[in-house]
């Protein structure tokens, strides 16, 4: 079988194989409650990966996602008391605007996205430190449960996080498959020059992609803050690597244009299973980062479309 034809199917085959390996070695892994728990735990990471998908889909990258999530945990903790549920709007808006700013700097000022988002990440980190006074903050437990308790409960054994994730997936999938925005993003990722020569306002769509990435990073941060009932400027550190890994092993290559939301769902599940399997095989948790780093390199090497890179810099 031709490797090129096999390529689009690699992600889910990988997932099935991984689940089978773990499941055979540890039957308790396959228990529905266990699987649901694993899936529920990974939701904040998944939401960040979902956002990153948009940035990577157009051939860019968003290194600010983690810092935005960090910042949002702080914002949510600080303003929950005074704003109540409206703090969610503030958080998402902040993420959206910071993402927009990254997009603006990238497209209008010609700063490569890995630098612009790194810089915006610095800005977000500063805001987080300023708001938090460089301390870890706690939410008022009562108020958290009142306002956002619905986010983290379970109904018939299904974690509510999963429902949130499902809603976001449906929305993102709709954007990707059925809207002019999604079509334009695909065109920009697959052939930016042709998109521009067709009269598309490429810059606007790219800015929107970064903004969506920022907004979803913010939602990830919000959910994380609610789960932990607090926030700190570095609390979500360690999200970025697995989130990028999730997007790439899912089959959305760094060069953009193919893959998408569904791929990231599969990619995140792969990450979740790898994490879980490490526990079962008693691989030291400290090795996780190394494993993910290596998985990342393999994933990029397998998915990247080298025809699109004139010179690899």
């Amino acid at each position: 079988m031709d490797i090129q034809r096999l390529k689009p199917h690699l992600p889910w085959i990988t997932l099935v194989v991984l689940v089978a390996i773990v499941g055979i070695n540890d039957p308790s892994f396959m228990r529905p409650s266990n699987l649901l728990g694993i899936a529920g735990d990974i939701v904040p990471l998944f939401i960040m990966a979902l956002g990153l998908t948009f940035a990577i889909y157009i051939g860019g990258i968003d290194l600010s996602a983690q810092s935005i999530a960090n910042m949002v945990t702080v914002v949510a903790s600080v303003y929950l008391a005074s704003m109540g549920a409206w703090v969610a709007v503030l958080c998402v808006l902040a993420g959206f605007l910071l993402g927009m700013f990254s997009g603006f700097v990238t497209t209008r000022l010609f700063v490569p996205s890995f630098i612009s988002t790194l810089a915006v990440g610095g800005v977000a980190f500063s805001i987080a430190q300023w708001l938090s006074g460089q301390r870890a903050l706690n939410m008022d437990a009562m108020q958290r449960n009142e306002t956002f308790g619905w986010m983290i409960g379970r109904t018939w054994g299904v974690p509510h996080e999963l429902l949130i994730a499902a809603v976001l997936v449906v929305i993102c999938l709709f954007i990707e498959r059925r809207t002019t925005l999604g079509r334009a993003l695909k065109a920009v990722g697959a052939g930016e020059l042709a998109a521009a020569a067709s009269g598309l306002n490429v810059a606007r769509y790219k800015i929107l992609a970064f903004a969506i990435s920022g907004a979803l990073a913010a939602i990830a941060g919000l959910l994380f803050a609610v789960k932990l009932s607090g926030g700190a400027p570095t609390i979500a550190n360690g999200f970025l690597l697995p989130a990028i890994v999730a997007v790439l092993v899912g089959g959305t290559p760094l060069t953009g244009g193919v893959g998408g939301v569904v791929n990231t769902v599969i990619g995140t599940l792969i990450v979740a299973v790898i994490r879980a399997s490490m526990l079962y095989f008693e691989i030291d948790a400290t090795r996780q980062q190394m494993v993910f780093g290596v998985v990342l390199i393999i994933a990029i090497a397998l998915t990247i479309d080298r025809a699109k890179l004139r010179t690899v810099k």
Binding site: K186, A190, G191, L193, A194, L200
Partner: protein
């Protein structure tokens, strides 16, 4: 001394060089002329080792050689002075001259800059250029860079035993008259050390400098002219070749256009360094063809109409409305469609299917508040697939996998289905096989009948003459001459070439 014997080169679908015989004697300057696409650049690439011939022999002093890359050709004394500057702008002159050959100046891992400067000085003296070799290249003028380039090639003299052959590819295109004379004087003097192959679009310069001139047409050498053996006009006739009749151009298929309706009007449009004082009108149903050599400004004119370039002087009116902001978005909204030369880069989006490509420029027509009506898009695509007999298994076929001709049909369908009535076509038949070319011609004629105003940059002169109502010859960014191409009174390729070069 250097010789090609019945050299052949084929590319998929194109026989680029057909049994070329070619030779250069010691100290000789050989000119190489031909229309765009006659095979000059392919021949040069074979000579300096970038392409490998499919048949025939390359001989140096009677022995067969074979180069698998330019570096090997250089080691046999064949050097190339590129038209597009091949010097690295942020390096100094001496670093550029010895790039890749620094080892001779390295002692214990340290570069001896003084020794390199001295050696560079010696090379620069060969081209009579008196500059500090430590100057950063980006600070030099064009002519200085051209001379440094020549000096760099002349380092072969020290590195290679035997004779040198140096190719000059359009070395005069950015130089003034005086600078050209300076360069020619130098080249003549250097014939004591090397032979030259001189390629230029400027006929008078080739006539002046060359001892012998090879005339190419359709991948063949059609004539070898000794110095003084022919006039400029005779050579131009040979470049154009056969005389063709009415039947060849299918003049009976050409319909008159509506002179009362002006779609595009350019008045004194200029972009410094690219085009100047361009004025013309395109009417409904008219096919206006821009003719000129590579880099003459044809593409810049198209791109200005499409809004990808913003003119510095002059005015552009589209359907009577003055254009005051320039962007493709704006032009598309006014019904302008653009078929770019780089079909695979700017024309279609590979990785997207037929219907996605077709509606890319007109998603507004098939969506409400940002939500696409995909069923409608698919119906439209199926319709146009049938209309233009596009060979694709369905509207879901990835455009990247279609053949060149079918890709071009998708691009045309994209604009036509969106109702564009001003079409800008840049080399629409480039790289297509004969059948696909005919299909594109038919589509152009059909659009003309439907009242679409068309600005065309054609692949060949024959194509231009056959399809157009009006031809404008462009040279060095200026309009040279306008021809009326009504059936029965068409200009000959020679008429056009005469104004082109």
């Amino acid at each position: 001394m250097y010789e090609l014997k019945s050299v052949d080169k084929k590319f998929p679908g194109v026989h680029a060089l057909k049994a070329i015989d070619f030779h250069v004697e010691r100290g000789e300057i050989v000119g190489l002329v031909g229309e765009n696409g006659a095979g000059k650049s392919t021949l040069m690439k074979v000579i300096y080792g970038a392409y490998q011939p499919d048949g025939g022999q390359v001989l140096i002093n009677g022995t067969t050689v074979r180069f698998s890359n330019p570096r090997q050709a250089m080691e046999k004394g064949i050097g190339m002075v590129f038209q597009e500057q091949s010097l690295i702008p942020n390096l100094t002159v001496m670093e550029n001259i010895f790039l890749g050959y620094e080892r001779q100046f390295v002692r214990f891992g340290v570069v001896d800059w003084k020794a390199m400067a001295k050696a560079a000085k010696a090379q620069l003296a060969k081209v009579k250029l008196d500059i500090d070799p430590a100057t950063v290249t980006s600070k030099l003028s064009f002519v200085q860079r051209q001379l440094v380039e020549l000096a760099k090639v002349l380092t072969l003299e020290e590195r290679v035993k035997g004779d040198l052959v140096i190719l000059l590819d359009e070395p005069t295109s950015v130089l003034s008259k005086d600078e050209v004379q300076l360069l020619f004087k130098l080249v003549r003097e250097l014939t004591t050390r090397a032979s030259f192959i001189f390629v230029s679009h400027r006929m008078d310069e080739v006539m002046e400098l060359s001892d012998r001139i090879y005339v190419m047409k359709d991948g063949e050498v059609v004539e070898v002219v000794e110095r003084g053996g022919a006039t400029t006009e005779e050579i131009q006739h040979k470049m154009v070749g056969r005389n063709v009749d009415k039947q060849y151009y299918r003049e009976h298929l050409q319909k008159p256009f509506d002179r009362s309706k002006v779609l595009v009007e350019m008045v004194g449009v200029g972009l410094p360094g690219r085009i100047e004082g361009i004025s013309f009108k395109v009417h409904a149903g008219e096919v206006l063809c821009l003719v000129g050599t590579e880099g003459s400004g044809r593409e810049a004119i198209l791109r200005t109409i499409y809004g990808m370039l913003t003119p510095v002087t002059g005015r552009l009116k589209i359907k009577g409305a003055e254009a005051n902001s320039y962007s493709p978005r704006q032009s598309v909204a006014h019904g302008v469609g653009y078929v770019p030369r780089e079909r695979k880069i700017e024309g279609i989006v590979a990785g997207m299917n037929v219907y996605e490509n077709m509606t890319l420029s007109q998603m507004k027509n098939h969506s409400r508040s940002g939500v696409l009506r995909v069923a409608e898009e698919r119906a439209l695509a199926r319709d146009w697939i049938k209309k233009l007999s596009i060979k694709a298994h369905s509207e879901f076929a990835d455009c990247g996998n279609l053949s060149g001709g079918n890709q071009q049909k998708v691009v045309l369908a994209k604009w036509r289905s969106g109702g564009s009535d001003i079409m800008l076509l840049d080399h629409p038949t480039r790289g297509l096989d004969i059948g696909a070319k005919e299909d594109v011609y038919d589509m152009i004629r059909a659009m003309s009948v439907a009242g679409v105003g068309i600005v065309l940059v054609a692949d060949t002169l024959e194509e231009a003459i056959g399809l157009s109502h009006t031809i404008i010859v462009v040279k060095d960014g200026r309009m040279q001459k306008q021809f009326d191409c009504a059936p029965g009174a068409k200009p000959t390729p020679f008429d056009l070439l005469h104004y082109m070069i």
